[in-house]
């Protein structure tokens, strides 16, 4: 009986049919938070939780000198946050996000909207100031981080107001973010990452350097992970209109390897810079995706 209430663990496309973003997100969060009574997000407070490896940019005052003395290794102490967190969620609304590999699935944008709404609700319920930036090739919508009543509704409206855009340029949105997050906080980038990795990483590293916690949520349709189509297809990029003729059966293995290499490269690079990276397919239940973020 309990499982039937946990819509956060159902198929995302099925869950999306229950209603709009608010209803779905609320339902997902209800299921997700049942049994969780403490904030899963780690901040810098007085209650020690765990160690993690030192990353350039970490404040030296949190360095654990005793471990350094004993093992000659650099670790910093993490503490459970008790106070308000300032979180900004960046949502990629470019044209490529409005794509899905099968009619029975959600588009990447629809999946991202619902997941972001649920995440925002979780944060706001913990009295964390949460804001939103949507972007494609430019910043489209900005909701500054607040914790006041009605903030979640504003965030949801912000998502709904943003139409599907054109190209993608995450670095502009990340640059804008720095002016909105004066204090250290949490930055969550939700995107299909189909843009220049080096430019985006430069911006993310800068945020990390400013002391922000950065999480990259790589949203991908299952059809983007495995190539399967007619014997010969002309594939066209919805953003640039560039096209290429391929035989999917011939190229499937090489494509799969390329995607895996790309994901691995993102994961490795992010880890190297203290950025959390998660790869999410759009058929993953929202609750499991939320759990990745916590």
């Amino acid at each position: 009986m309990a499982d039937t209430a946990r819509i956060d663990l159902l198929d995302p496309a099925e869950v999306a049919r229950l209603g709009g973003i608010e209803i779905v997100a609320a339902g997902v969060v209800e299921g997700f938070l049942s049994g969780i009574h403490r904030s899963p997000f780690r901040g810098f407070s007085v209650e020690f939780t765990e160690h993690r490896a030192y990353q350039p940019g970490d404040e030296l005052r949190y360095l654990d000198w005793r471990i350094l003395a004993r093992a000659d290794r650099l670790f910093v102490k993490q503490f459970e946050e008790e106070t308000n967190l300032r979180a900004m969620i960046l949502v990629d609304t470019s044209r490529s996000m409005a794509w899905r590999g099968a009619p029975a699935r959600l588009t990447k944008r629809a999946y991202a909207d619902r997941l972001v709404a649920a995440l925002a609700l979780v944060l706001l319920r913990q009295r964390d100031a949460t804001g939103l930036i949507t972007f494609d090739e430019a910043v489209r919508e900005v909701v500054p981080p607040r914790v006041r009543a009605g903030q979640w509704a504003r965030l949801v409206r912000g998502l709904e107001r943003t139409p599907d855009g054109g190209g993608t340029a995450a670095e502009a949105a990340l640059g804008r973010l720095t002016s909105l997050l004066a204090r250290r906080g949490l930055v969550v980038l939700v995107s299909d990452l189909l843009f220049d990795r080096d430019l985006a990483l430069t911006a993310l590293r800068y945020l990390r350097h400013r002391g922000h916690h950065v999480i990259v949520l790589h949203v991908m349709d299952p059809a983007e992970a495995e190539l399967a189509a007619a014997p010969e297809v002309r594939f066209r990029d919805p953003e640039s209109a560039a096209s290429v003729v391929v035989r999917p059966r011939e190229l499937a293995r090489a494509y799969r390897d390329t995607v895996r290499r790309e994901i691995a490269a993102w994961r490795t690079t992010c880890r190297r810079h203290g950025i959390l990276y998660h790869h999410v397919l759009t058929d993953l239940p929202f609750g499991m995706a939320l759990r990745l973020l916590t």
């Binding site: 299909d192 189909l194 983007e224 297809v233 011939e250 293995r253 090489a254 790309e262």
Partner: protein, 575 residues
């Protein structure tokens, strides 16, 4: 390499199918949106070389697969390893075999102390005995007929084959035999020629033996007898011309002439010469049969030749004043020699005599009378008339001896009436021409001459052949000849009858070319017949060897299967 089913090679055109499919498949692919195009481009860039190699490899494999299957369907024959040719139950590959046993007249010669036919028969028997039940076998004798049958039946035919009076054209026989075996879908195709390989037995042209057909010829014996034979014996104007044929350089032979069994003359002649022997004078009218015979030599079949001729009673001839003085003088000579008598059976003149059975008409001296003469000819039912003046030229004829080449200076064209030039009926004949135009024609009891028999018109009256010409004109040509035709066969004569009358004769005898026993050189045999000339022992070793050829369709199919497996592997594991 030869093929049992070469038509199947047309299927090689199918080898372009993979390339065509490759091109057609790439025409207009469907379009689809795909955001991670950068991953796709990267994957393609990294795989481009591998994919290009894969495409070329698959194309080659598929094309090769089709080519191999088509080649296998054509059933190619390739040289087989000596140790492992495809062999039937009798120890040789299945073979289509034609044995040509040349039992023509010349095979009756005796060489090396035995009949040539016996030697040929032994060799033919050897080839047939070596054949297996799985082989297809034919036997060709001098009649040129290919006899199919079981090995035992053909062996019996060989045993019973005697010397035939017929000549065998070896070139034609080998050509037909090669076509016969080439049409058989068997691995081996052979023609064995058991012949004395006379040079004269090789007909015109070449046998044009298809590739893949082996022709093996038994080499002629070491001894070639110097033979002489009677090639022809023809009666003409009281004499018989006997042509002696045979091996060039053979010494002269005694010729004996017999009429109705009685010796009437003897002579000596060498091969290549013609002996003219007078027939006994005073033989009465009627059909006469004689023979010219030589002393016996190694080939008896051509030592005797029969001839026949008809002796007609002297013609009763009248020459009108318009015939001219030369004709009158010639008739006087003939009358003295009792070749003609005075009478009205044949009338020579420049107009038609209604009472004569046969008229020899020469043009009138006065040109204005030509029209009158033509009307009279038409009224008589003749199909010839005198036309305009013709050009001078020499006489050309084979009907009358001695006048060929004699100059004609003036003449009228002898033209057919009605639908000019068409056959004017039985008995209507052109006997001599000038410049290709009729000059002497016979039709319906009329002999029409294009020139007056006068030295102002032709040199004929001044020639020695003039009297024999007039003799032939009135005794033979005007009264119609009783034809004597010749036929290849046993020496003999047959008479043709019509009612109670004998209207002709057929004399038969061997082909004179059979008398020359000179064998053709091996090089010529190879060139004309495409044959390997082998002695009996070598022939026995070479027969059914088939050039060591074997059907390669099996290995080709295995190779095709391997290729198909490789193609499947490449198509599956290189994606």
């Amino acid at each position: 390499m030869t093929f049992l089913h070469p038509v199947a090679l047309l299927g090689l055109a199918a080898a372009v199918i993979p390339a065509l499919l490759h091109l057609l498949e790439r025409r207009v692919p469907p379009e689809a949106e795909f955001p991670p195009l950068r991953y796709l481009s990267e994957a393609e860039r990294q795989s481009a070389r591998r994919l290009r190699l894969r495409h070329v490899l698959l194309l080659l494999l598929r094309t090769g697969l089709i080519v191999l299957i088509v080649l296998a369907a054509a059933r190619p024959l390739v040289p087989a390893p000596a140790a492992a040719p495809l062999r039937g139950a009798a120890g040789h590959q299945r073979t289509a075999l034609v044995v040509i046993l040349d039992n023509s007249v010349s095979s009756g010669a005796v060489a090396d102390g035995r009949a040539v036919l016996d030697r040929l028969r032994d060799a033919a028997r050897g080839s047939l005995a070596a054949a297996a039940a799985s082989d297809r076998v034919w036997l060709v004798l001098a009649d040129g007929v290919a006899r199919a049958g079981t090995r035992e039946a053909l062996l019996a035919t060989v045993d019973s084959a005697a010397v035939s009076p017929r000549r065998l054209d070896l070139t034609a026989a080998v050509r037909d035999a090669a076509r016969l075996v080439n049409a058989e879908p068997l691995e081996g195709r052979e023609v064995h020629v058991m012949s004395d390989l006379q040079r004269t037995a090789l007909g015109p042209g070449q046998a044009a033996v298809a590739r893949g057909v082996r022709v093996l010829a038994l080499a002629p014996g070491s001894e070639v007898p110097a033979n002489r034979g009677v090639g022809a014996a023809r009666v003409s104007d009281g004499a018989v011309a006997v042509s002696i044929v045979g091996t060039p350089g053979a010494r002269p032979a005694a010729v004996t002439l017999r009429v109705r069994g009685r010796e009437v003359g003897r002579g000596l002649a060498a091969p290549g010469s013609t002996l003219s022997m007078a027939l006994p004078p005073g033989v009465g009218p009627g059909w006469w049969v004689g023979e010219a015979a030589l002393d016996a030599d190694e080939l008896r079949a051509d030592d005797r030749r029969v001839f026949a001729w008809r002796v007609a009673p002297p013609g009763q001839v009248t020459a009108s004043s318009g015939a001219g003085p030369f004709v009158a003088a010639a008739l006087a000579v003939l009358e003295q020699g009792r070749r003609v008598r005075r009478g009205s059976d044949v009338v020579i003149g420049d107009r038609l005599d209604g009472g004569a059975a046969v008229s020899v008409v020469i043009p009138p001296a006065d040109p204005t009378l030509i029209g009158q003469l033509n009307r009279a000819l038409a009224a008589r039912g003749a199909h010839w008339r005198l036309g305009s003046g013709g050009t001078p030229g020499p006489v050309a004829t084979s009907a009358v001896e001695g006048i060929d080449g004699i100059q004609v200076t003036r003449r009228y064209r002898v033209e057919p009436t009605g639908d000019g030039g068409r056959e004017t009926g039985q008995g209507s004949t052109v006997l001599a021409t000038v410049n290709g135009e009729p000059w002497l024609a016979r039709d319906a009891g009329v002999l029409l001459v294009g020139s007056r028999l006068d030295t102002a018109w032709t040199a004929l009256p001044a020639a020695p052949a003039f009297v024999p010409f007039v003799d032939a004109l009135v005794n033979r040509l005007a009264r119609g000849e009783a034809p004597v035709s010749e036929l290849e066969g046993e020496p003999g004569v047959q008479f043709r009858t019509h009612g109670a009358d004998t209207v002709g004769a057929i004399v038969s005898g061997p082909d004179p070319r059979e008398s020359d026993l000179t064998p053709a050189p091996a090089a010529l045999v190879r060139d004309v017949l495409g044959a390997e000339v082998l002695d009996a022992r070598a022939l026995g070793a070479a027969r059914f060897a088939g050039g060591g050829k074997t059907d390669a369709s099996g290995p080709l199919l295995v190779l095709a299967l391997l290729l198909a497996a490789v193609e499947l592997g490449v198509a599956t594991f290189t994606r």
